[in-house]
């Protein structure tokens, strides 16, 4: 038995505002105050054109300054050169600068004395508004006491140690023996900063080879002038430094800063500890799964051969599963968590995991893993576009890309490559976003293009990839005469190809490709789930698989429209099934969903009005509500769960759809025999009659009404006649006036044989039970359900606003009004059975009893508004000159084949076999020293060489400013504040 989930249908494309938040790595508004803020948003948010300047060392950049309390964020116009996100609480002083006329500039001073100058280049009133918002937001932060928290928080950041005591932290850190100095630093500082297992168990890789000291020195310099942790400003140099690989000791902190998880940790102090405390000792499926994998997570790392590392890993994974029980735990998260715990404290790792699972790898680890499947599809499509020859070859030999690439994405390459290299990819991934995964993946395929064209099967593909990953540390050009070229590793070449040749893969492309394939993926997941659900049924009854599939479709549709209550978990386990089998979670639907479900299948479980107004004829369908339907629900709930599973529905329908006359009569009888004693009480006879009336409510003519009336007459007369003592010998009726013995309305009254007799006495009822009842259940293919509207771009927005149900209703009402005016409006209720289309009166069988119709009996309100024709109303006519197009269902597919093919640059290169290596910057550099000889002592000259590698990745950065603008910006650096 499986669960059925409609969760994928609830997907919504992020709004523009959400995209901005995502771009700046801001925490989504959750963890408590969601509801309030979503209501009163926008009031305090604003963005404004601005020019950012920072000291003389950096160029000024034009961009947009956003205030999104409690954060201030900036992004340069090209969205990649310069950006920052800083909490307002780190800003200590804001001054308006005294500058040339017409220039409106602010100086922002952070808590550690860094001066950021922003020149607001929008119109004056806009700038004034922005300033007042900024002032208010700062005041709020002050009142919340956030300002005070900053000092304590930054103590947990290693960068502060680097800055404040460079002699201790950086100088002592030799290229070779970082651990020795670590001991000293730790002792003298009392280790207040957060760090990972690496501090105790060593970091992977050789610190000398990794040039740790040079990197630390470069970072120290950068962080001194550009802020750090909460206040880090990301200039091009920052990205470059990330691309050469973060130094081990700073890595954890930079990861949380670049990914934005630091803001979560900052704004939720103590949350992690509390979460663990509150859920202490709690076990569930997730914690069981976690337990199985703890010893399988980077087992080769020393830290995970000790209890310390294992229990850290356990706590972080558990805490995450407590916070997000819906996701819980997915294999591969253990690898991610184990990897980041080498560099981060538990709390840091916890929040980074949240950012990874929630924002950076959306849906990757969800129960359906839809994000993983989607991105695999996207990756495949990118391969098809940029490496068509490889793609075609894979098609020919039937090799599936995902067998290799799925773990790449799912474990951020950590499971595929040697750790030192994988972590450098993680560095870039956290700095530059999810596109990195795709860029690296494409580069891997491209570099191996020639051999890939030789492979014949999945196995060969995997072996090739494994060999390649094993060679990442080798020289890419072992034969080269140039020592510098020899020094280039296969891994460096990989990054080079990734970021240079596949720089065309942008975040926008990824997003639009995801939009393009989302429907396909959802569809395939759903149909996979459907096949599984049908296959896993205990019994199909007399249905074919296809029919069961149709029932599943109806169920699924009903669940989409009326979602079952979310907490379907704790089913009262009074009735433990089987011998101690653990009950697997199984989707069950409640009464409301059942009504919806039944209305898809049974003609009488819905009210269908045929509306004609001269313009259109449409059928309006409303789910019917009646006790009869509720009765059916409980009748089918054989396990007394108060809810029905797919199996229950199949079995229930099986019990009625294949019946012959006698079986149907019995079925109907049993349905109304609540206590199952084989007798209907008087009350139940009345209820049963009401059920008839409900089913027949829209039949044309009086035939059915008459039949029900006769039924009641006969039922009571027979019932009275046959009352115990069962004098039910031969004579059907001694029509004697023997007054019926008084019998309470809830006493056993009518048994099955009698009921059968009464039914068979009537032609209409007989034919109802013979065929009509079974046929009133109809299984037919449902039209493909629309997927959630992807409101991409203006067109999407427009469409989604036109095609809403609301507007369809408006349109319908509108045409109805017109119809009424011109006298063509007509509403007909569609009959559920529709046997008699004309008003004819079938005669009753020769009645054994007096055929008097006891109208008095009709306790039931016999409102059979069989066909009501509304008279044309004389409403003031509306002028009809707007041409309204009927809202069709087809939503525009995100048109992007065009926009994407605009970058065929790489198509030419994709003959991967002939890959021409772009010359490395490093190749041209002066060849002053043979790098192979390890003669590295950390001079300043050599520090710069660390950067050589990355110069190759350099992209042009555009400050977006003219020279004149730059002059103004420079002036501001020296401007005096206004009072």
């Amino acid at each position: 038995m499986s669960t059925i989930s409609t969760a994928l249908r609830h997907f919504k494309e992020p709004t523009k505002e959400q995209l901005t938040q995502i771009f700046f790595s801001l925490p989504a508004l959750e963890y408590g105050d969601d509801a309030e803020k979503s209501g009163g948003q926008d009031v305090s948010k604003m963005d404004i054109n601005a020019v950012l300047s920072l000291g003389e060392a950096e160029d000024s950049y034009a961009g947009k300054l956003h205030i999104m309390p409690p954060y201030l964020a900036f992004s340069s116009l090209d969205k990649k050169s310069v950006r920052f996100t800083i909490p307002l609480s780190t800003i200590r002083r804001v001054e308006r600068l005294n500058a040339r006329a017409g220039v409106y500039a602010l100086s922002l001073l952070t808590w550690h004395g860094m001066k950021i100058i922003v020149q607001l280049t929008s119109l004056r009133p806009t700038a004034d508004l922005f300033c007042s918002l900024l002032r208010d937001a700062l005041k709020v932060e002050l009142q919340r006491g956030q300002m005070k928290l900053v000092k304590n928080f930054v103590k947990t950041c290693y960068s502060e140690v680097l800055i404040s005591d460079p002699s201790n932290a950086a100088e002592n850190e030799r290229e070779d023996g970082s651990l020795i100095s670590e001991g000293k630093a730790g002792a003298s500082q009392g280790i207040s900063y957060h760090g990972g297992l690496g501090l105790r168990f060593k970091f992977p890789g050789d610190p000398k080879k990794l040039r740790e000291a040079s990197k630390i020195k470069l970072w120290t310099t950068y962080l001194k002038s550009h802020g750090r942790n909460l206040t880090l400003l990301r200039y091009p140099q920052c990205t470059r430094l990330v691309q050469v690989g973060l130094p081990n000791r700073l890595r954890g902190e930079m990861w949380e800063t670049l990914s934005g998880s630091i803001y979560l940790r900052f704004s939720n102090p103590g949350y992690y500890e509390r979460l663990l405390e509150e859920n202490k000792g709690k076990t569930n499926i997730s914690t069981d799964d976690i337990e199985k994998d703890l010893h399988r997570s980077l087992p080769e790392y020393a830290g995970y051969q000790s209890e310390e590392g294992i229990s850290s890993l356990r706590r972080v994974l558990r805490a995450y599963s407590y916070m997000n029980p819906e996701l819980g735990y997915c294999q591969a998260m253990n690898i991610l968590a184990a990897a980041i715990l080498i560099y981060m404290s538990e709390e840091q790792a916890f929040w980074l995991l949240e950012v990874l699972c929630g924002r950076l790898l959306p849906g990757y680890y969800a129960p359906s893993m839809h994000g993983t499947l989607l991105d695999q599809r996207v990756f495949e499509s990118l391969v098809q576009r940029y490496l068509p020859i490889i793609h075609d070859h894979f098609q020919v030999v039937d090799v599936q890309l995902s067998v290799a690439s799925l773990p790449w994405f799912l474990s951020l390459y950590i499971n595929s490559m040697p750790m030192v290299f994988a972590f450098r990819i993680v560095d870039c991934f956290l700095c530059m976003g999810p596109k990195v995964l795709f860029q690296v993946g494409l580069a891997i395929l491209k570099i191996n293009g020639e051999q890939l064209l030789q492979i014949q099967d999945d196995g060969g593909f995997l072996n090739l990839m494994r060999d390649y990953f094993a060679s990442l540390g080798d020289s890419a050009h072992p034969q080269s005469s140039d020592p510098r070229a020899r020094a280039i590793t296969v891994f460096q070449e990989l990054l080079l190809v990734s970021f240079r040749e596949f720089s065309v893969i942008t975040e926008e492309i990824i997003l639009s490709e995801r939009r393009r394939f989302r429907g396909e993926i959802i569809h395939s997941i759903e149909s996979f789930a459907k096949r599984g659900a049908v296959r896993n049924l205990r019994t199909l009854g007399r249905f074919h698989k296809e029919q069961a599939g149709l029932i599943y479709d109806a169920l699924y549709k009903a669940m989409c429209i009326v979602p079952p209550p979310p907490t379907a978990a704790p089913v009262p386990t009074l009735f433990t099934t089987g011998e101690g089998h653990e009950e697997k979670p199984e989707t069950r639907i409640g009464l409301r969903t059942f009504r919806q479900f039944l209305s898809e299948i049974a003609t009488w479980a819905r009210d269908e009005k045929i509306v004609m107004n001269g313009f259109q004829q449409r059928i309006e369908r409303v789910v019917a509500e009646h006790e009869f339907i509720d009765r059916l629900f409980y009748f089918w709930d054989t396990g007394c769960h108060g809810a029905l599973s797919f199996q229950d529905l199949i079995s229930g329908l099986d019990g009625v759809m294949f019946n012959d006359l006698m079986e149907n009569i019995e079925w109907f009888f049993n349905l109304h025999d609540k206590n199952k004693d084989g007798y209907l009480t008087k009350d139940e006879v009345l209820t049963l009659s009401e059920s008839f009336l409900f089913i027949f409510r829209y039949e044309v003519g009086d035939a059915y009404l008459g039949a029900v009336s006769r039924f009641m007459t006969n039922a009571f007369e027979y019932g009275d006649a046959l009352l115990p003592p069962p004098a039910s010998d031969s004579g059907l009726t001694d029509n004697e006036p023997s007054s019926p013995p008084p019998i309470a309305s809830n006493q056993p009254y009518l048994n099955l044989p009698t009921f059968r007799m009464v039914v068979l006495a009537d032609e209409v009822l007989e034919s109802f039970f013979e065929t009509d009842l079974s046929e009133s259940f109809k299984l037919h293919p449902l039209p493909e359900m629309e997927l959630p509207v992807s409101n991409s771009g203006i067109l999407g927005d427009l469409w989604s606003s036109i095609a809403t149900d609301q507007n369809k209703k408006m349109f319908n009402m509108f045409t109805d009004e017109i119809g009424k005016t011109i006298g063509k409006h007509q509403v007909v209720n569609k009959p559920s059975i529709g046997r008699y289309t004309k008003l004819e009166e079938p005669k009753a069988r020769e009645s054994l009893l007096t055929p008097t119709l006891r109208k008095s009996l009709s306790k039931a309100s016999l409102t059979t508004s069989s066909s009501s024709t509304l008279a044309p109303s004389s409403l003031p006519s509306l002028s009809v000159n707007t041409t309204l197009e009927p809202s069709t269902k087809s939503l525009p597919n995100v048109p992007d084949s065009g926009s994407l093919s605009a970058i065929p640059m790489l198509q030419a290169v994709n003959a991967a076999a002939l890959m021409e290596r772009t010359p490395f910057a490093i190749d041209d550099a002066k060849d002053d020293e043979d790098e192979d000889d390890d003669g590295f002592l950390g001079d300043n000259d050599h520090d710069d060489e660390v950067m050589d590698e990355v110069d190759a990745f350099l992209e042009a950065h555009d400050s977006g400013l003219t020279d004149a603008d730059k002059a103004v910006a420079n002036d501001l650096l020296h401007a005096e504040p206004l009072k």
Partner: protein
């Protein structure tokens, strides 16, 4: 990778085999026992699927098993078709000490029979049988394949409690052998009770699968593809005899390709 040139010597037949089953029933351990992966005492976690190969000899044929060891966690289920498509054989594993794992196994069998290659040979393996045997009997039944290679614990799924064999071992058993056997017969499966820990029954599975696989059929189907990457070193073609040989080969891991 030892012997990287994938075998395409005259009589080598490639057989794609997939392992399926609930999480923690010991799929990976079964494979590791068979493949005897001596280079990796700590196995890498199964993300999606792990891929291993092993060669064996059956009569005068060399079979090259390409083994896809899938992740057992329920949410990876939807990825499984990627791995079992085109598979010629499948080993569906359950845990004899866990009744629900047989139910899951049955559902895998159903899925394979409906969705996979119609000629697929399916074997049902009730693993962890060592937990329900007294140690004496398990010793006699076992044919430990690679005695010197690795500690037994290395292949045990964490959570497996080998120590529990004492006391009344049969009480741990939740799936009677007869019940599983009856099901396997009815569904047309090969059936074994195995212990990755002691090695009992492991080689037998692969031997019996090898016997049952329509080798000629596969050969005919793949004939067109053979001859690629032809570097396969000439294999010692000893004159040994049928099933035993396969066992011995596997035992010694002589041709084992631990990639």
């Amino acid at each position: 990778m030892a012997d990287g040139a994938s075998g395409s010597a005259d009589k080598s037949v490639q057989v794609k085999l997939v392992l399926l089953g609930e999480a923690a029933v010991g799929k990976s351990s079964v494979v590791l026992r068979f493949v005897s992966n001596e280079f990796q005492p700590n196995k890498e976690p199964t993300i999606g699927a792990a891929f291993l190969t092993q060669k064996c000899r059956l009569e005068d044929r060399i079979l090259r098993y390409e083994i896809w060891d899938t992740a057992g966690q329920e949410r990876f289920h939807s990825l499984a078709p990627m791995y079992y498509r085109n598979a010629q054989a499948a080993v569906v594993v359950y845990d004899v000490t866990k009744a629900s794992s047989l139910e899951k196994a049955k559902s895998w069998v159903k899925e394979l029979q409906r969705q996979a290659n119609p000629n697929i040979v399916i074997a049902l393996a009730g693993n962890k049988v060592d937990l329900v045997q007294s140690s004496a009997s398990s010793l006699s039944a076992a044919s430990p394949p690679d005695s010197e290679d690795e500690a037994d614990d290395a292949t045990a799924t964490p959570g497996e409690t080998p120590g529990a064999t004492g006391g009344e071992p049969e009480s741990l058993r939740q799936v009677p052998r007869e019940e599983a056997q009856a099901y396997a017969t009815e569904a047309g499966l090969l059936f074994f009770e195995t212990s990755a820990k002691t090695g009992e029954g492991i080689v037998d599975i692969f031997t019996e699968i090898a016997k049952k696989i329509p080798i000629e059929h596969i050969l005919a189907a793949t004939r067109g593809n053979t001859g690629r990457s032809g570097g396969g070193a000439s294999r010692a073609e000893g004159t040994r005899q049928s099933g035993v040989n396969l066992e011995e080969d596997a035992v010694k891991g002589k041709d084992a390709c631990n990639c």
